[in-house]
């Protein structure tokens, strides 16, 4: 009896392990299929846990990094990206965004690192440690979510200017809420794809 149970355990364990390895291989491949698949899953998850995801923004981060643009939610970039950004604040996309002292820098860095995008999202071909993506707008999932929006509504819209200006259309962006059913483009009104 014990021997049979052991065999069943072994078989079940092997099946689970094989499944996990297969899933890992598919994810790691990062091809279009797995990307879309995950994207749909995440889209669903976003709707389900919209409110749960509204974790409070660190006040130091909000104060130091939320003046010229919204305090972009840490989860939108992997930790390697945040590290690269934090190490180049004197040339922050052409602006100077230096922090006033080391303790402030540490608080912001630690917060971003702890809340950064979890590994699965990062693994899907969003760059590597040596060359991490620096712009949220350059990420595949971001481009996917925003394709089909006429440029006249974004770069050609003085009240929007760029896709990086989240708050122009996502009213509650500063709180990390990007519900696609609550999008309103300045001068054009409600937008729903």
């Amino acid at each position: 009896m014990n021997g049979f149970t052991d065999i069943m355990r072994w078989a079940l364990g092997s099946a689970l392990l094989a499944g996990a390895l297969l899933a890992g291989a598919v994810l790691a491949a990062g091809d279009g299929w797995s990307y879309r698949h995950l994207d749909e899953h995440e889209e669903h998850e976003r709707h389900e846990h919209r409110h749960a995801r509204q974790t409070p923004v660190n006040p130091v981060y909000a104060e130091e990094c939320g003046t010229c643009h919204i305090a972009y939610p840490a989860r939108l970039l992997p930790p390697q990206s945040w590290a690269a950004i934090m190490n180049n604040l004197d040339d922050h996309f052409g602006e100077n965004a230096e922090l006033i002292d080391r303790p402030t820098w540490l608080v912001v860095s630690t917060y971003l690192k702890n809340r950064a995008a979890p590994p699965p999202r990062y693994m899907l071909g969003f760059g590597n440690d040596e060359d991490p993506p620096l712009r949220i707008t350059s990420l595949a999932w971001f481009r996917h979510e925003h394709n089909g929006i006429p440029t006249a509504l974004v770069t050609g819209n003085q009240e929007v200017k760029s896709l990086g200006n989240c708050g122009a259309c996502h009213e509650n962006a500063a709180n990390g809420v990007f519900d696609e059913h609550m999008v309103s483009v300045p001068g054009y009104g409600h937008w729903d794809d």
Binding site: G94, E95, N96, E98, I100, P103, T110, N114, Q158, N165
Partner: protein, 127 residues
């Protein structure tokens, strides 16, 4: 460790207990520039409008400190600098330090001198 860092940051970022952050900073700039230094509001005004290879304070802040400016890249509005229009301005020592650091380096390519900052603060305070 993390909590300690946050506490330090919160303490550091609290508005200075000094009654007048501008006076505190002017005294500091004077101690750097020399005890006999007198800050000149007119020089501060000239500094506001001075062009540095196409960049100037007035370029982003709006023409005068009473105007609302706009961030050149992101389009985000910059509230007026003049305390008479925007009473929140020049009330937080740390905020003044932060923006002098960032904006001087962007506009001039270097930190502003104690005299430049003293002159500009003296003029801005009167606006």
């Amino acid at each position: 460790m993390r909590l300690a860092l946050i506490l330090i940051a919160v303490l550091v970022s609290s508005p200075s207990l000094a009654a007048d952050p501008v006076n505190t900073l002017l005294n500091e700039y004077r101690s750097v520039a020399g005890a006999n230094t007198t800050f000149d509001a007119r020089a501060g005004r000239a500094f506001w409008y001075a062009d540095h290879d196409g960049r100037a304070c007035a370029g982003c802040h709006g023409t005068t400190p009473r105007d609302t400016g706009e961030h050149a890249r992101t389009g985000k509005t910059i509230a007026p600098m003049a305390p008479s229009v925007n009473p929140e301005r020049l009330t937080n020592e740390r905020t003044i330090r932060k923006w002098f650091l960032r904006n001087c380096k962007w506009t001039l390519g270097r930190e502003c001198t104690a005299v430049e900052k003293g002159n500009l603060l003296t003029w801005l305070e009167q606006q």
